[in-house]
């Protein structure tokens, strides 16, 4: 059954006058805001990024074509390897820690008979808090002295004060913690919606076969969620590869560059202190990152093609 689409199909005009009469000019006028805004602030900058990566730009004089110089400079930067390593580390930590949690929460919440809405509100609340407020608040929590908020909690369990963001080893995990806190709730809601739409007959059939709860989870729920799980996985990967605010506001890449991420490096190239900013290197690195993410998405789609056919 086809939907009746809302269309205003005017027939192909044969002259400018009939085009105007048929509303062609009106359409043009009405679509002008979109075209202008997207054109100036989206399409043009995207193209410009590609161009700038092959130029040296400082804000005083005209850009100069330098070929692959920017890319070479980026590759030669010892901090690039550090940034990549740190970003991969963050992504893996976020995957191991932050990916299962929303799933478990949603699975539990799905079994609720009443008050599902209340629990949903609780879970989603951290998501709406502005990231700046969250991160600044957690920076206070992460005070490494014995009277810091989290260290006080640890002391209730007899655990010693933890350096949190003041040590190279624990800085990145601390970032993952705050990033997970603010993002998990959104994924919980997505999973919950997906779980709710799992057809009851499947569970009935499993019950008839005498399946236990773990078996039902493994054989019914997870396969039904396959598509959602795969999508949130790639979205999380893409998102965590671009982590910026947590390292920027909490540690500024420190201590000793242990939380320097690729985005932070791009920001430093362009807007870091010490000069007029190397916009060429910044755009070069951002294009490299974009290319990597595109490649990652493509590989991911190919690899999961067979799994996501439901």
């Amino acid at each position: 059954m086809t939907a009746t689409r809302a269309q205003a199909r005017w027939s192909r005009p044969r002259s400018v006058r009939s085009w105007v009469k048929r509303g062609g000019l009106s359409a043009l006028v009405l679509v002008l805001p979109l075209v202008l805004v997207f054109g100036v602030f989206s399409w043009f900058p995207i193209v410009r990024a590609a161009v700038m990566s092959f130029q040296t730009t400082n804000l005083i004089s005209d850009p100069v074509w330098v070929g692959l110089h920017n890319f070479q400079r980026v590759f030669a930067d010892p901090l690039l390897l550090t940034a990549i390593r740190n970003t991969v580390y963050f992504t893996l930590l976020a995957l191991v820690f932050g990916y299962p949690i929303p799933l478990i929460l949603a699975a539990c919440m799905n079994e609720l008979r009443r008050a599902k809405g209340f629990y949903s509100v609780l879970a989603y609340l951290p998501v709406v808090v502005p990231p700046v407020a969250t991160i600044l608040l957690w920076r206070i929590f992460y005070d490494a002295g014995p009277n810091g908020a989290f260290n006080t909690i640890l002391s209730w369990f007899g655990l010693g004060p933890w350096p949190w963001i003041q040590s190279q080893a624990s800085a990145m995990p601390s970032l993952v913690l705050v990033a997970t806190w603010s993002a998990a709730g959104a994924t919980v809601i997505i999973y919950l919606a997906a779980m709710t739409s799992i057809r009851g007959e499947l569970y009935d059939a499993a019950d008839v076969d005498g399946a236990s709860i773990p078996q039902k989870i493994w054989n019914v729920m997870l396969p039904q969620l396959r598509y959602v799980l795969l999508v949130t996985l790639i979205l999380q990967l893409i998102g965590t590869f671009q982590v910026f605010m947590e390292p920027f506001l909490l540690t500024n890449g420190g201590p000793a560059n242990s939380t320097l991420t690729v985005l932070l490096l791009i920001y430093r190239y362009a807007f870091g202190s010490g000069g007029t900013g190397d916009f060429g290197a910044a755009t070069a690195l951002s294009l490299m990152l974009a290319a990597f993410l595109a490649l990652l998405s493509w590989i991911y789609l190919r690899a999961t093609r067979s799994w996501s056919e439901t």
Binding site: A6, V132, Y227
Partner: protein, 332 residues
């Protein structure tokens, strides 16, 4: 449907659910409604009714729910409650005994000081202005654009929509530097939008999500009403203003709430564009005043910055937590 289409349709699913919920009855159910699950999932989630009667499972579930509630309250709500408590504590209390309940007494003065001396009121209003302007621009661009793409459908509509969709696949970081340079020197006009709210408002309009949402909604408007309007002699403008817009309140609501929320949370872009401290919004200003404002006043300022988003959320829960929440979650 190929995987790619299905993957890209994740942004379209919410609109599907949306149109089903708000489908004007005059159109008469031309789309298949999703079966109402509410009556079914009341008695059919993973754990069956029979299982729930078993003692082990019954208590297991109760324990799980207890842990779940405790976990969500302590971990999810806890930090915010602490913020509330700390914003009316003195600095020394917060530093020395972060979990004590006001040993030195409640310091309501923090909120007043934050609002007046730390001038949080000014930055709050700046954020409000940013949000209002961004909201207007986004509504304007997405509504007119979506309308043309979905209703008027000129020959270039497909190409245009494709170009808009393409921007979804470009990570925001790529835009950062060239957009900054563009704002510094707008091509064609040769003016600088630096240090001006227009430098925030206008780029905010280039949101593919909004256009997609509006277009999908307009796609599902009942054709008969539009046809009737055209027969009555309504031109494109009239039709938009008098027919389509009044029917679009739900989707306008969704786009508005998310636009305002996004503007409230925006950090990096305003940081780069708004250099004059007097016009900076809360998100930019708070990190900068962290070391010049006393801790208790600072915490009060943080509290103030969280009020509007939380109020928006609590007031419009359904928007966030049902289907459209998906779009917001991905966008946010």
């Amino acid at each position: 449907m190929t995987d790619l289409a299905r993957r890209s349709s994740i942004t379209e699913e919410p609109a599907e659910g949306l149109s089903e919920d708000w489908h004007p009855t005059a159109g008469g159910g031309s789309k298949e409604m999703a079966p109402d699950r509410r009556s079914e999932d009341a008695d059919r989630s993973l754990v069956s009714i029979a299982e729930r009667r078993q003692a082990g499972i019954k208590w297991g579930l109760r324990l799980t729910f207890g842990l779940l509630l405790a976990g969500l309250v302590i971990v999810g709500l806890g930090p915010l409650l602490w913020l509330g408590k700390a914003s009316i504590s003195t600095t020394q209390d917060t530093l020395r005994a972060p979990f004590a309940f006001w040993p030195s007494g409640v310091d309501w003065q923090n909120l007043v000081t934050a609002w007046t001396e730390a001038e949080i009121s000014r930055y709050f209003m700046n954020t409000v202005w940013l949000a209002i302007g961004a909201w207007l621009v986004q509504i304007f661009v997405a509504t007119t654009g979506g309308y043309v793409l979905a209703v008027l459908k000129p020959r270039y509509a497909g190409l245009l929509y494709g170009l808009v969709l393409a921007t979804l696949f470009v990570p925001v970081v790529v835009l950062l530097v060239p957009l900054f340079l563009t704002v510094l020197d707008v091509p064609g006009l040769g003016i600088s939008l630096l240090n001006s709210y227009w430098g925030i408002w206008l780029p905010a309009g280039a949101s593919a999500f909004n256009v997609i949402l509006m277009k999908r909604f307009f796609d599902n408007l009942p054709g008969e009403i539009l046809e009737a309007a055209r027969v009555d002699g309504a031109g494109p403008f009239r039709m938009l203003w008098s027919v389509v817009l009044p029917m679009s309140r739900p989707i306008l609501g969704v786009v508005s709430v998310f636009a305002i929320l996004a503007a409230w949370r925006d950090f990096l872009w305003p940081l780069l564009v708004l250099l004059d401290p007097a016009i900076q919004p809360l998100s930019v200003r708070l990190p900068l005043i962290r070391d010049t404002v006393e801790l208790d006043v600072f915490l009060a300022s943080l509290l103030v910055s969280t009020t509007i988003p939380i109020l928006l959320f609590l007031g419009f829960q359904r928007l966030f937590l049902r289907g459209p929440g998906l779009a917001g979650a991905i966008k946010g």
